[in-house]
């Protein structure tokens, strides 16, 4: 049984059909990378999974049970998300950013939450920034804190929404490293990303979206090696053309 199953979901924003008949299954431990041009529905898809957007049609099942919009809070304990713009709470220290969900939503005692915060910060190599305020950190560090915050909730699935897109080129590597490590550790992840190198190296499945639909899906080697559609081929060309650094990272 897949951990997450999207069955024919659709989503419309006034006149724009953002998602159309999207079906996707994600197994426990699987890493799925969603790629595609901007406006192809990648982020909307991710936001539908944890209820930030309501779907117009189709169903979403998590762990075999249909997602009930009235029980979103329970679902969000199991599904974490990391955003492109980090969305850390600027008025709280790094530690409190991480412990807030644990104490206020999960009812964990503060001492235990603080121990857990230290542990997840060690995983992203930022234990020394535990007392800092988010805006004092670099973009890469803020994003690693955001990852730590999501991990601290001990989710069974983590969504990553273009988490390196807002970062300077030299800071992308440190975030990608964390993602690689999570993938190796068997975390179930669904990522929207433009990091083709990471996708090829660490993803089990690549999903190429185009015009709100899943256009192609498959293992990285076959998808990147032999795109079946002209749309994917031209997308890959476009990505490599604008950023030679990515060409190096794609390996």
């Amino acid at each position: 049984m897949p951990l997450l199953a999207l069955r024919s979901i659709s989503k419309r924003f006034s006149s724009h059909q953002a998602l159309e008949d999207v079906s996707l299954e994600v197994d426990a431990g699987e890493v799925v990378a969603i790629i595609g041009r901007s406006g192809s529905g990648k982020s909307t898809l991710l936001r539908c999974i944890n209820g930030l957007e309501k779907v117009d049609g189709g169903t979403i099942e998590f762990d075999g049970k249909p997602c009930d919009p009235r029980r979103l809070r329970e679902l969000r304990r199991e599904i974490g998300i990391v955003f492109q713009s980090y969305n850390l709470f600027p008025h709280l220290s790094v530690e409190r950013n991480i412990t807030l969900g644990l104490t206020a939503a999960k009812g964990m005692p503060i001492a235990e939450a603080q121990r857990l915060a230290r542990k997840v910060l060690r995983m992203v190599d930022l234990e020394d920034k535990i007392a800092a305020y988010p805006l004092r950190l670099s973009g890469g560090q803020q994003q690693r804190v955001a990852i730590a915050r999501a991990l601290a909730m001990e989710p069974r699935l983590v969504l990553f929404d273009e988490i390196t897109a807002a970062l300077d080129a030299e800071l992308i590597g440190e975030v990608i490293q964390v993602l690689d490590k999570l993938a190796r550790d068997g975390m179930t992840m669904v990522l929207v990303t433009h990091e083709m190198g990471f996708a090829r190296r660490s993803a089990d499945t690549i999903v190429f979206m185009h015009q709100g639909r899943i256009w192609e899906k498959g293992a990285p080697a076959s998808l990147f090696g032999a795109p079946a559609t002209a749309e994917l081929a031209s997308f890959i060309d476009a990505i490599l053309a604008v950023d030679p650094a990515r060409r190096r990272r794609i390996g």
Binding site: L52, R76, F89, P90, K106, L135
Partner: protein, 223 residues
């Protein structure tokens, strides 16, 4: 020929200051209560509640505070057929007036917090009241410091209007001293200076507080 303006007269003015402060503080406290209520109603999902709160704000922002004072002072007397003291009437009038302004200031501050902050809080499985309490209100409070203090300063000065219905605060004390000394050009500048001494530290405090919070959190201003 009236009395000269001496130490006695000056002390009389000083003794009126607590009434100005008490009225301002009372109106601010009451107004904060009403204002928070109004701010939350203004962001409520129900159209009726939003409409009521908006109506309240329009009325109190769109009419002179002096008229509001008259209406509460005489209105209470007529409604309940009792003679109302000046003190509860002015306190009520300024509380309702403050509530409208603070409500609008705080609604703006809450709505100025970017939507992703709500989303991030929701994604940590926080309930709506907890999102508001832990994530939104503290940030809204920070950005509402300058306009809130600005309003408090306005309010201290506006309480001088209470003099008209005979409530003895700083301005009324000034009027009384002018009547006995016939020296308006000595009395009123002193009264004005006393208001300045009340208001100026508040503005300073707000600026210091804002700077300190920004420095701690690492918030950079562009100008």
């Amino acid at each position: 020929m009236g009395r000269t303006f001496g130490t006695q007269e000056f002390l009389y003015l000083l003794k009126a200051i607590p009434w100005t402060l008490l009225l301002s503080l009372g109106a601010l406290a009451g107004g904060a209560f009403v204002g928070l209520f109004i701010a939350i109603l203004r962001t409520a999902p129900s159209r009726l509640l939003r409409g009521l709160a908006t109506g309240y704000i329009e009325i109190f922002q769109g009419t002179p505070v002096l008229m509001q004072l008259f209406v509460t002072y005489y209105g209470l007397a007529v409604l309940f057929n009792i003679r109302v003291d000046a003190w509860p009437a002015v306190l009520l009038a300024f509380t309702l007036y403050s509530g409208a302004f603070l409500g609008e200031i705080w609604r703006g501050s809450i709505q100025a917090i970017p939507r992703p902050q709500w989303e991030a809080a929701a994604c940590l499985s926080l309930s709506f009241p907890k999102q508001l309490w832990y994530v939104i209100l503290p940030q809204a409070a920070r950005i509402s410091i300058p306009p809130t203090v600005g309003f408090a300063v306005q309010l201290i000065k506006s309480t001088s209007i209470a003099a008209i219905i005979g409530f003895v605060e700083l301005t009324r004390a000034g009027q009384l001293m002018t009547n006995t000394t016939f020296k308006p050009m000595i009395v009123y500048p002193i009264v004005a200076a006393l208001y300045f001494i009340l208001c100026w530290p508040l503005s300073l405090l707000a600026r210091t507080l804002e700077r300190r919070i920004d420095a701690t959190l690492g918030i950079k201003k562009h100008f």
